[in-house]
């Protein structure tokens, strides 16, 4: 079982490599069945994402932005179409391979933070590294480093219940980045924060993106935060309405 896991992990981690295309989606559709009603969440998405961008998926509620984000995060599969992420054909991966792929390459930041209530801030950040079997010493150094980077070194032993919303989201950012993924996905990360804290969180993520050279993809309907984006993908009724590339100097874009 362990050997099997190592084999899959090795395969997934070695085949991704450095690529000029982060994700490529071709004619992606996603249909849900809600009782007797068929809901077409995505109706033929064609999209190519470059690495190390600070991208925003925007759209009104029900437009399909969260569904697109879920597909990009490999926690959902398309009904039809071709999807490659980091050079991998995601549809060809088994459930365990997908889990390992997410474990090594994708960081998640949730709207409700979704921290584990029984773990301290430090342990929450450390948890994904345990899943990667990173040695204890290296793990601890990495966690301390990232917690310091998000300004939570003095709150590291507090459990989520004793942290403010902003602090919890900082822990979530640290947790997503600690494993040094190629891609961080954030589903409306500022929706449950006041505007000031929300802006701080976005700035922090921008800073982290710049420091760790990671691709960030957000879903949001907050027009205020869009000014930080290097790329805005507007989605409407399950289709891409517009893709705008902005010349944002704050973003650590890969200019190769």
């Amino acid at each position: 079982m362990i050997a099997d896991r190592k084999k899959i992990t090795k395969e997934i981690t070695t085949n991704t490599g450095k690529t000029k295309i982060l994700a490529k989606l071709e004619n992606i559709t996603k249909t849900y069945q809600l009782g007797d009603v068929e809901v077409k969440a995505l109706r033929g998405i064609d999209l190519q994402l470059k690495p190390q961008q600070f991208s925003f998926i925007v759209g009104s509620s029900g437009s399909g932005k969260t569904t697109l984000l879920n597909l990009l995060g490999c926690i959902d599969v398309p009904t039809s179409g071709q999807f490659r992420l980091l050079g991998k054909d995601i549809a060809s991966l088994s459930d365990n391979q997908l889990a390992d792929f997410r474990n090594h390459h994708i960081g998640y930041i949730f709207q409700n933070f979704n921290l584990m209530a029984v773990l301290s801030a430090f342990e929450n950040v450390e948890y994904p590294l345990i899943l990667q079997n990173i040695p204890r010493k290296e793990r601890r150094e990495r966690v301390a480093d990232i917690l310091s980077a998000v300004g939570l070194e003095k709150r590291q032993h507090h459990r989520p219940a004793h942290l403010s919303g902003g602090e919890q989201q900082r822990v979530a950012i640290a947790r997503a980045l600690a494993k040094r993924p190629e891609l961080v996905l954030a589903d409306e990360p500022t929706a449950n924060l006041d505007s000031k804290t929300g802006a701080e969180i976005i700035k922090l993520m921008l800073e982290m993106q710049s420091r760790y050279k990671t691709s960030f993809i957000f879903s949001t309907h907050d027009s205020e935060v869009m000014r930080y984006a290097s790329e805005v993908i507007e989605i409407k009724d399950g289709r891409i309405e517009k893709i705008a590339t902005l010349n944002n100097t704050n973003v650590g874009v890969n200019h190769e």
């Binding site: 879920n70 926690i75 994708i106 998640y108 979704n114």
Partner: protein
């Protein structure tokens, strides 16, 4: 952060619910262990009672158990001393033997001429010192009160009767039997009696002789007369001085029981010949009983003792009631195991299912972060196992404390087929499998029951789980 640490913390998340589950398990373990300990006490108590009174092994002429009591002329051990000598000469067997003694089993009619009463009896001819030594056997250290017999080796004409027998023969007053009253003598004999060979006539000559001897050396007790069939089939009568009434375990036995000196029984059945019905062996412990049984059987098969063929039976064979009683209690215990396991199973399933429902979003987040289905399964399985280990361990500790207090309380009871009360004890350590088995069973049941909610959690759709919050 190991799975175990995470499981413990998650169980503390809703501490009250986890504690209630653990508490249910403690009660379950307590019930199982107390009942199991009680059964152990019955098992070892019953075994001790049988071994004290009848020994571990009996050597009989082949067929004695089936036909012996109706054919004393055919089923006996001739020159029993040679058989005993043969066994005692084998060092391997001898070192395992506590007591080896001959017995005579007999039946006949006992009459109290003075009270004009008679009753069929089932008799035992024993060597009193051997019998009383056997009563000290306490391999399992149960400290049961020995049921020693009031006979002595040198007074061979004395005997002991059951309480019921004392009543039947109007011996209550002379033997000072508590709660027993002699019937008044009847003055009207049925005319039919006069035509029947009188039991009184049968024993008359013996009675005169005995009265003479009583006048010469007055002794304790009351005289009765025994009539039995001899080895040659002829009737034989002897007087017996009953010195005590001793209550027997069941009424049937109590109403007909007479125990007497081996020599007296031998005279009654075999006249002066050196014969015995059986040879009784009490071993130092029961563990090697089967081996010793086989060794003796092989030894007896090898040696020619006047062409006699013997069989060796152990106490579970000559006393089949033993396993019937034990099997009855074992079935009750098994039934209890099933009921308690089901309670633990459903309590744990309920607790962990509630835990899964409360943590749907967390499960979705973990899966999104890269935890495999097996990882989620393992986490909830560990929580079930932690509940199982904690509940079972605390249950065992509680049971030990309760059993200790119970045993010190000095409660007594009279087991079935026992004449006297004995201490009511919970023997937890007598059978190591009871403690280990109960612990393993509870941990197993709790772990297995966690698999249903664990599977439920592991198979959740990630998107639905994340949205759940």
């Amino acid at each position: 952060m190991s799975n175990l640490q995470l499981a413990i913390r998650n169980l503390f998340r809703n501490g009250r619910r986890s504690l209630m589950t653990i508490f249910a398990m403690i009660i379950g373990v307590l019930a199982l262990l107390l009942f199991g300990g009680f059964i152990s006490s019955i098992y070892y108590g019953l075994q001790t009672g049988i071994v004290r009174a009848q020994g571990h092994l009996h050597i009989y002429p082949i067929g004695y158990l089936e036909y012996g009591s109706s054919r004393p002329t055919e089923y006996f051990i001739d020159d029993y001393k040679d058989v005993i000598k043969l066994i005692e000469n084998n060092k391997t067997i001898k070192q395992e033997i506590e007591v080896i003694t001959p017995v005579v089993r007999l039946s006949g009619i006992a009459g109290n001429y003075a009270a004009d009463t008679s009753k069929t009896f089932i008799g035992n001819g024993i060597i009193p010192s051997h019998y009383n030594k056997m009563q000290n056997w306490d391999y399992y250290q149960l400290n049961l009160k020995p049921q020693k017999i009031a006979l002595t080796d040198h007074k061979t004409d004395q005997g002991v009767v059951g309480f019921g027998m004392a009543k039947m023969l109007n011996l209550c007053k002379p033997l000072k039997v508590a709660g027993c009253k002699d019937q008044a003598l009847s003055t009207n004999n049925s005319p039919v009696d006069n035509d029947i060979l009188s039991f009184q006539d049968m024993v008359e000559s013996e009675k005169v002789a005995t009265q003479d001897s009583q006048q010469k050396s007055p002794q304790k007790g009351v005289q009765i007369d025994l009539l039995a069939s001899t080895g040659s089939g002829a009737p034989n009568a002897l007087s017996l001085t009953v010195i005590e009434a001793q209550q027997q375990g069941n009424k049937f036995l109590d109403d007909g029981f007479i125990s007497m000196h081996f020599n007296h029984a031998q005279n009654l059945v075999y006249a002066d010949k050196s014969r015995a019905s059986a040879i009784v062996l009490q071993l130092k412990n029961t563990d090697k009983m089967k081996d010793i049984q086989n060794t003796i059987q092989a030894l007896l098969n090898k040696v020619d003792l006047k062409g006699q063929k013997f069989e060796v039976k152990n106490f579970t064979e000559f006393n089949p009631q033993f396993f019937k009683v034990i099997n009855m209690f074992s079935m009750l215990f098994l039934f209890m195991v099933v009921v308690i396991s089901l309670v633990v199973l459903f309590t744990t399933i309920n607790t962990l299912t509630m835990s899964v429902m409360e943590r749907i979003t967390e499960i979705g987040s973990l899966r999104a972060m890269g935890v495999r289905r097996s990882g989620i399964l393992k986490q909830f399985f560990t929580e079930g196992a932690v509940i199982g280990v904690t509940g079972a361990t605390l249950g065992i500790i509680t049971s030990i404390v309760v059993a200790f207090s119970f045993n010190r309380a000095g409660l007594e009871w009279t087991p079935p087929s026992n004449a006297s009360s004995t201490s009511l004890r919970i023997l937890l350590y007598a059978n190591p499998f009871l403690l280990i088995g109960t612990w393993l069973l509870m941990v197993f049941v709790a772990s297995i029951s966690s698999l249903i909610p664990a599977r439920l959690a592991a198979r959740m759709n990630i998107v639905d789980a994340i949205r759940h919050g």
